[in-house]
């Protein structure tokens, strides 16, 4: 607050200059006066801007910065996250907030790109009212924000941040990812696929053309080669993100006739691909595996037997979720408010907020009921184990999360109009993760077929 004092003094001095030199006469001086006035104004704005509430015992409101895509094509994934955050925060506030403090969120649109996101992060972090950030969806944005979080010392919960590069140096103090990452997510598919279709020989991959798609292809391929060395990748296609037309790629897939088509397309891209590929028989000629298939179950009619999953354990109809009354209530409330059941990005966001809430509880009980600082909050997240809507979230020493992975195939039931996931398996989070600090790809290449045999089998999760 010394800033405030100095700035006020500077502002006073500048305005007294004006009086002293009687600068209000004549044309040229009047411009000079304008300049002095401008300077005074700037300082005054600064004084107002810095006069934020100092950290107090218990604030009147807990500010959160929540980063997700609310515009552009990626909003297909980002909006369920925002909706879930809205709903979850309403539910938390209806029960009196986090430890008695109501939560108010500021949403930041990631579609602005890294520059805009960084500017907003700095602005929000500058206000002590905002104690923590839930950021972000896009891996590129997470990677750009991570050094900033460490520098500004703001606890930052990566609610999506799939990239395995995020916490690879193991030095993070303020960045947490209570989530799986690309490594366990895509190994899970390789194992499930080989369990369900052990005689697979040829595989084609069609992924979006950016880091997420390339990472997934690399990990999936490495896992398949390690577990069944004679597998051949017959096509690797990377259509542009947001592409409306997949006819060329589908023609390639049709002529290559692979046993398996793997894809981590998502959002509108996935919907378009499914709508265009189904009439051309891709789903009958090959075993299709859609890593983010759960997000479109309610929107496009997927045929039976497509391998789909949720990148984590966030399937709102999983046995664990159904056994949890909180989850059932959340899913129904979400359906009532947004007209759709919560897809897994929504569950990921809800779980991230539950994780944050649990960290506050832990920090306060450690603090004898005193409201924690940002550093104390981050400390409470270290190594925490939190029960979420769909399972548990274990934080490792390197701040990376251990979350179970659910994979299954589409089946029709009488309970819902849309296909659901059946024949499920739930892999334990730690079984598919390399040790902290280990190079993920090197670790994957050491996997043995015996390793896969030791894991649960499809259909074992009921």
């Amino acid at each position: 607050m010394t800033f405030k004092g100095i700035s006020t003094v500077v502002a006073r001095c500048l305005s007294s200059l004006e009086l002293l030199f009687s600068l209000d006469r004549g044309l040229p001086q009047s411009r000079f006066r304008l300049v002095v006035d401008g300077l005074v104004g700037a300082v005054a704005i600064g004084v107002v801007a810095t006069t934020s509430v100092a950290a107090q015992e218990k604030p009147s409101a807990l500010g959160l910065g929540i980063f997700t895509f609310t515009s552009g094509p990626a909003a297909a994934y980002g909006m369920p996250g925002k909706n879930a955050a809205d709903l979850m925060i309403d539910e938390i506030n209806a029960k009196g907030g986090i430890e008695g403090v109501p939560v108010s969120a500021t949403y930041v649109d990631e579609a602005q790109g890294a520059q805009g996101v960084i500017a907003e992060y700095r602005r929000l972090a500058g206000d002590t009212k905002n104690q923590a950030m839930v950021a972000a969806l896009s891996s590129a944005n997470c990677l750009a924000l991570a050094p900033l979080a460490e520098q500004l010392e703001v606890p930052t919960v990566g609610w999506n941040c799939d990239t395995h590069q995020l916490l690879i140096d193991g030095k993070s103090k303020y960045v947490f990812r209570p989530n799986g990452n690309t490594v366990p997510e895509f190994i899970a598919y390789a194992i499930y696929l080989l369990d369900r279709k052990p005689d697979v020989k040829t595989v084609a991959i069609i992924n979006p053309d950016y880091a997420f798609g390339h990472d997934a292809a690399k990990i999936f391929t490495a896992a398949l080669k390690a577990l069944k060395p004679d597998i051949e990748i017959v096509a690797e296609l990377y259509p542009k993100l947001g592409s409306p037309n997949y006819q060329t790629e589908i023609s390639r897939l049709a002529t290559a006739r692979p046993d398996v088509v793997f894809s981590n397309l998502w959002g509108a891209d996935l919907e378009n691909f499914v709508r265009q590929a189904a009439p051309r028989g891709i789903f009958t000629s090959s075993q299709v595996t859609l890593a983010l298939g759960e997000t479109v179950l309610q929107r496009v009619p997927l045929p039976d037997g497509v391998i789909v999953g949720v990148l984590g354990d966030g399937w709102w109809m999983s046995p664990d979720a159904k056994a949890n009354p909180e989850t059932v209530k959340f899913a129904e409330a979400y359906k009532a408010r947004f007209g759709e059941y919560p897809v897994f990005p929504a569950i990921k966001m809800a779980n991230a907020l539950i994780y944050l809430k649990a960290a506050y509880k832990a920090a306060m009980s450690k603090n004898d009921g005193k409201w924690p600082t940002r550093a104390e909050l981050a400390e409470a997240m270290k190594g925490s184990k939190v029960a979420t809507l769909t399972g548990t979230m274990q934080t490792r020493a390197d701040n990376d999360g251990l979350v179970d992975q659910i994979v299954g195939v589409t089946v029709k039931t009488s309970a819902q109009q849309f296909p659901v996931i059946g024949d499920m398996v739930r892999y334990k989070g730690d079984s598919l993760m390399p040790q902290a600090g280990q190079d993920p790809l090197a670790w994957i290449s050491t996997l043995k077929p015996e390793f896969a045999r030791s894991l649960p089998k499809p259909g074992s999760y009921k």
Binding site: I45, T50, A114, Q115, E120, G126, A211
Partner: protein
Amino acid sequence: MPTILAAAAVLMLAVLPVAAPWLQFVLTLAIAKGFAALGVAVLLRAGLISIGHAMFFAASAYGVAFLARAGVNDLGLLLILSVLAGALVGAVAGSFLVRYRAIFFAMLNLAVSMVFYALCAKLYGITGGTDGMPVPVPTVFGVVLGEPAFKSVLFYLSLGLMVFVGVAVQRYLNSPLGHALSAVHTNEIRLEYLGIPVWAVLLIAYVISAALAGLGGAIAGFAIGRVVPDFAFWTASGHLVLIAVLGGIGGVPGAFIGALFLELLHSAAVTVTDSWNLIVGMTLIIVIMFMPQGVYGLFARKEASSL
């Protein structure tokens, strides 16, 4: 008088981040984009619209990232080398691009820059694809700084460079070489008859404008701490043209005024609504309709009436 106005404006910029620290990043970025827009404005003098200047912006930013990876770790050295890298790319691209005019020049610039963008995004093993490359905090003349201190150094350095480079570009534009640019715009053939090689005039302007974009890119790379292919995307190039036109191409300050205006407008708009694109777009339409000379035109016109 304009000098006093400009000095006051620079002073105000210098004071603002002391009061509101988060503005420092926004202003650094605005100045960085101002440099690139100034590069675009230089070519606009000759009537050439480049919808591809983000390429040089990105080339220099990637230059910083690659040099940092190779072990170069001094701010001054990184800045100079990466600007040279931007200028070099400019010299190569310019050597054939300056033979074209009007829409052909604009489209070819766009095409070349998109090839560059595609390379950055696709050479996954080298550039890290869309996840980009990190830019670590460099030392400043051998002094190891913490990140907050470095960001302040960077801001005041860019502010200083803005004044210094701004004056230099002003001198260049007032030199015969600079005046030849407007001559290219009005009557190119006469210029050739006067014995002035148009090709050389334009190539020099092109390299200078690429170097300016490169300077902006290097500063942006340091400020953001990460370089992503989006830096080179065509919308980023369009953004630069927009800044140049918005600020007004009447003088050097125009580019910086335009950049500051657009960045601050953007920052204000995103805090209000998800439809921030709508607010930014509407404001641009209003500015273009009612201020054909750009924001800088306001000042220039006032000056004329007070004489």
